[in-house]
Amino acid sequence: MDPVRIAVVGAGVVGLSTAMCVSKLVPRCSITVISDKFSPDTTSDVAAGMLIPHVYPNTPIPTLKQWFRETFDHLFAIANSAEAKDAGVHLVSGWQIFRSIPAEEVPFWADVVLGFRKMTKAELKKFPQHVFGHAFTTLKCESPAYLPWLEKRLKGSGVLILTRRIGDLWELHPSFDVVVNCSGLGSRQLAQDSEMFPMRGQVLNVRAPWVKHFIRDGSGLTYIYPGTSNVILGGTRQQGDWNLSPDAEISRGIFSRCCALEPSLQGACDIREKVGLRPFRPAGVRLQTEFLAQDGRRLPVVHHYGHGSGGISVHWGTALEAARLVSECVQAPRTPTPKSNL
């Protein structure tokens, strides 16, 4: 039997990690990653990559926890290896602080991160406007390093990488047997998913190497995330806003909110503005196989998109799930079947 030809559309963190998981799980396949954008021009590249999960409304908490744990364990192993620097993964400790006591004092992911505990009174003194907080150690996964690192490993396993803009998934027929759709916001067009919309986020990348801890305020609208070569200050959540140009007034607002939490940031320099459009899907992550059919042609598509604010935090867990769907698809008999209702 000929190797199964798999196309992965999208080269953000979701596309590349899915290609990786598929290459490990599905025997005798040839994989091609196709995308118009690669690092450093993907949405993932703008994200700080802090491993703190977001809740998806239709995803049961145990599933979310599993995805987060799988991602954390995967990255933790990298962080403790000699690959850490190249992969852009490192540990960081810090605080999540609240202006009023949250309904859920211990979040579901508390035992996945390291050393989770409530902040002491002495620690809270640093934040006079806040009355409650969590202290813990988690991981930061920096896409500008992680994506090229994944790409290099993919190429090493024989995966082909192609720069091409796909306007319609049918373009991939009949060259490919299975398509894995990791196109994020692009699924609005490619999967005709009109529910997808951007949740615009603006951030500032600054040089402030003395900041060694993350600080996340309440719901996560304001945050300070220190990385390898810069600190990311955020942020915004602007629903339905497609504008990729930074807004100066918003930048001033972000800087001001962050300096209120960490006054030493006033000494920050090399301030750069960035914008990313989070691939938001109200129903949550779409992990589903769809058998496209048209004029007698048949194309199995595994959808894997819609991670919104939480892509990097769960990417490996959802990629493993997507790879399982691909595996099922590949094992299914190759006879024309009616489109199944999933």
Partner: protein
């Protein structure tokens, strides 16, 4: 009143600033100078990693525990200011690692968020079976000395590069009070068999992904003889050398290898780190800090000497508490000489 501070490391400059801040306003005649043969970046303070962490065991002089606490509280109150990075201050969290369980240190409530390590934490350090996690401060020697120098210069304190050969020379030059902050070289001004160099060597690397300090302990070997990794503002300090009695200020290749192998074993990601500097310093080791007054008589006048040296490997950790104590002693000198027009300021 002429005050000469001998020594321009962290002890000299912080003591100078502490005294000047407290007494200049009530003693308009205060003329303060700093004499030193070495200034930043050539002092031992410049070599120190700068992590505020006292030794594990209680100090012989219980006052030192108070001085450590006072220093931490003082620096903590400044780390939240917009100027913190300019002073060389930053909060840093990290790990202390042991081969077996040991009692919590007496400073566990001084630092922030102290806890013992969980099994998952320890998974990261296969050679160790017990440890602590806490948040502390770093005060970067070089930046802090530069900041202290700026503050002192603003106040009109003058700096002189000179090698002082004797207290007498300084006294005959007109000094009424001498603050002796000569660190490891105090013995050349007045023999002190209790003072010895604790030679240290460190490698500074560019490893900006390291956000935590990691300090290992081996009670059989002794303090600072086990690998440690301490991130600073720009570079990460790797160390693990402590040689009592060794006066050599030259980097040693075996020590380099000891540090490099030990730290890379502890933290494999360091293998990719680029070395940016390698330095040797001499910790001024003494069973306890010498912080006391002494009156010396030269010709027909009394010269007050306030000794403040022998801070071992914890000078930055304890410096401000010692400076406050030295300032108190200075206040007593002024009282005795009836030089104060007003009651001494509240310290």
């Amino acid at each position: 009143m002429r005050v000469v501070v001998i020594g321009a490391g962290v002890i000299g400059l912080s003591t100078a600033l502490c005294i000047h801040e407290r007494y200049r306003s009530v003693l308009p005649s205060l003329d303060m100078r700093v004499y030193a043969d070495r200034f930043t970046p050539l002092t031992n303070t410049d070599v120190a990693a700068g992590l505020c962490q006292p030794y594990l065991s209680d100090p012989r002089n219980p006052q030192e525990a108070d001085w450590n606490q006072q220093t931490f509280d003082y620096l903590l109150s400044h780390v939240h200011s917009p100027n913190a990075a300019n002073v060389g201050l930053a909060l840093v969290s990290g790990y202390n690692l042991f081969h077996e369980a040991i009692p919590d240190p007496s400073w566990k409530n001084t630092v922030l968020g102290f806890r013992t390590l969980t099994p998952r934490d320890l998974d990261m350090f296969p050679d160790y079976s017990y440890g602590w996690f806490n948040t502390s401060l770093i005060v970067e020697g070089r930046r802090y000395l530069q900041w202290l120098t700026e503050r002192l210069t603003e106040r009109g304190v003058k700096f002189f590069q000179k090698k002082v050969e004797s207290f007498e020379e300084v006294a005959r030059g007109g000094a009424d009070v001498i603050i002796n902050c000569t660190g490891v070289w105090a013995g050349s001004l007045q023999p002190d068999p209790l003072l010895q160099p604790g030679r240290g060597q460190i490698i500074k690397v560019d490893a900006p992904w390291m956000k935590h300090f990691i300090i290992t302990h081996d009670p059989e070997k002794g303090i600072y003889k086990s690998p440690y990794i301490i991130p600073g503002i720009q570079a990460v300090t790797l160390g693990g050398i402590f040689q009592l009695g060794n006066w050599s200020e030259v980097n040693n290749i075996q020590d380099h290898n000891t540090i490099w192998e030990g730290c890379c074993r502890l933290e494999p990601t360091l293998q990719d780190a680029k070395i940016v500097a390698e330095l040797t310093g001499l910790r001024p080791v003494r069973p306890q800090i010498r912080l006391e007054r002494e009156q010396l008589r030269f010709a027909s006048s009394n010269t007050e000497v306030i000794h403040n040296y022998g801070h071992g490997g914890y000078g930055l950790t304890i410096h401000w508490g010692c400076a406050l104590e030295a300032a108190k002693l200075f206040g007593k000198v002024l009282e005795e000489r009836k030089l104060l027009k007003m009651p001494p300021p509240h310290l």
